[in-house]
Symmetry: C2
Subunit: 358 residues, 2 copies
């Protein structure tokens, strides 16, 4: 029995991704080899990574002068690679929660970091807007969607300096004007596929501004991976295979425009229910509410029901609702593969729970 999966990542993936990946684990195409066995230098695997690159470029309308990389190491490795390569004097960061803070911490190892906007004053329950971006910094770094707190920025910022965005949890959920960024990156394990692969979109001109006179390990230089087509070392083959299956599925569904429409509908169903339901509310300010990660908390006086609600949901085959261990409460992560039906089951569950506990 397939569950209604609201995991924050790894998360629900499309049936076609699961079915085609399972088949390829037994045999890739008619190669007589598993995707786990085939050489990364083979035509069969090259076709997979080439297709993934082309689909990603097509779906996100990535301009010609950008490189696409699929790497290992996670977004956490990128947190360090970015300042290692590009922080010459000063970088500016927007602090919107746990992941921004981690990115800031790594940047501080390499140079001056100015936090030009922060939502820390209100426990990261909103996304700062209208902040001024100084012209004298090497780059601006933002986390476009905050998986833990459930805030999101839906705007591609105008900036006098290069913009870098961690889009781990909202990539492919809306059209993005890639030309407004010099780099977009993230862990694949939400809208791009399973864990174990990291995507990087990097502008060629920006890449060439990387610091030359700093000691940087080969694996942490962007040109290492650009020059070798993401194959400087053995890539995470099955992860890239499943990522490609995810991109194929997105395209077949109508691309990021269709994903955005669905995301708005799914999130709307949940936020409307919070408005209606006397037990639950959103801790996030309207206007900053994520479509991907939707935290909810008890209305006053009801917080003794935590375990009861999780059990009530589990009995309805709903999994992944527990809030991140750092904030508590609940969180429904509704990534691209989440269906309206999944969300309707959750809404009904909240309604039934309210009826039984009013």
């Amino acid at each position: 029995m397939r569950k209604h999966i609201f995991n924050a990542g790894p998360c629900k993936l499309s049936d076609s991704c699961l079915e085609n990946t399972a088949k390829a684990v037994i045999e890739l195409n008619n190669s007589g080899q598993s995707i786990l066995e085939v050489s990364h230098r083979s035509k069969d695997f090259q076709a997979v990574i080439d297709e993934a690159t082309a689909l990603f470029k097509e779906c996100l309308n990535i301009p010609e002068n950008y490189h696409v990389l699929f790497l290992g190491g996670g977004a956490s490795t990128q947190f360090a690679m970015i300042p290692f390569n590009f922080l010459k004097k000063k970088a500016v960061y927007v602090n919107t929660g746990t992941w921004s803070s981690k990115a800031i911490k790594e940047a501080q190892l390499f140079g001056e970091v100015e936090v030009i906007a922060s939502s820390e004053d209100k426990k990261h329950t909103y996304y700062p807007k209208g902040f001024k971006i100084p012209a004298d910094a090497d780059y601006l770094h933002i986390t476009s969607n905050n998986t833990i707190r459930g805030t999101e920025i839906f705007e591609d910022l105008d900036s006098p300096i290069p913009v870098i965005a961690d889009m781990s949890s909202d990539i492919m959920s809306r059209p993005v004007d890639v030309s407004k960024y010099v780099m977009i990156y993230g862990g694949a394990q939400k809208n791009m596929g399973p864990s174990g692969a990291t995507f990087v979109i990097i502008q060629d001109e920006f890449m060439k501004t990387a610091i030359k006179d700093r000691v940087i390990p080969t694996m942490l230089k962007y040109d290492t991976h650009v020059d070798s087509g993401s194959m400087y070392n053995t890539p995470p083959c099955i992860n890239i295979f499943a990522l490609n299956e995810t991109l194929k599925w997105v395209k077949a569904q109508g691309g990021v425009e269709a994903m955005e429409k669905l995301a708005i509908e799914r999130a709307g169903l949940l936020y409307s229910e919070f408005d209606r339901n006397s037990l639950f509310k959103s801790p996030v300010e309207p206007g900053s509410r994520s479509r991907m990660n939707i935290p909810f908390v008890w209305t006053e006086g009801n917080d003794g029901l935590q375990d009861a609600f999780l059990k009530f949901a589990a009995d309805r085959n709903i999994v992944g609702l527990k809030g991140h261990r750092s904030v508590g409460g609940f969180r429904a992560s509704t990534y691209n593969a989440s269906t309206i039906e999944d969300v309707n089951v959750l809404v009904k569950c909240m309604q039934d729970f309210e009826a039984e506990n009013k």
Copy 2:
């Protein structure tokens, strides 16, 4: 039709690994979720990584004071992490080919490197023996098996200084006295499972000698990963799942002792055939010949037959024989999951080819 796979890595894996991984891609246990979807913080995944850790410790008889890590980033990331963390003044390296050279290059970024032994004088066709290890270096680094050149050391060295070994391509192919090393690491994509995961065995006492006053990114510090049980960031879940299936299979076959027996038998069949066959020979000196990667070249005057032999082998469902692009010739990689039957098919192929081309 399943091929006879002699790929250098990714490489042939056991049928049970492929079958169980394919099943888990559809559904992990009875969780109602795929291994691609399940949270890395779930009990289901924790059980996978715990079992893999326990099996690895059991099979290799890893002492209590060692940590086992499963990370992303590949052995190439370890090439930099090792000197980043442990090269205080001087490290000594043995240069046995391409991968050693890459490790040396990274170490040179961080301090003095002395190459105390090298097989470069004879194009890496032997493994240096009886070299003197100085007592005044921070550590000795060796590559125990050379995937490209096909040389291997079967001895766990006595050393006055800590020994670190890249065992990417021979791990789990023989019993190892882990206590003679402070660290053993490698990419998983040979004897440990598919690409996308990296194993690290590190002695606790050695880990604690890591440099404290150097700027090291969080992801490149060993204690980051030890403290978080390999889950500082989202791990490559399916890769660790398949790695665990591989370890389960090794144990069921009789462990590393059984793997060594098989490796000796497989390699013996091929090296004997080179002695007999008038067309092929081993370029590697006896005593240094790898059991895992078995390169072979034409005897004099026969090298016009390269493409003909590859086609002849392909017609017999044999894949992966082409030598590494940097050295040419042929290479049969016979890792743990290679069967005697696979090798017999290859031997017969060489005999038939000789009969047709004498």
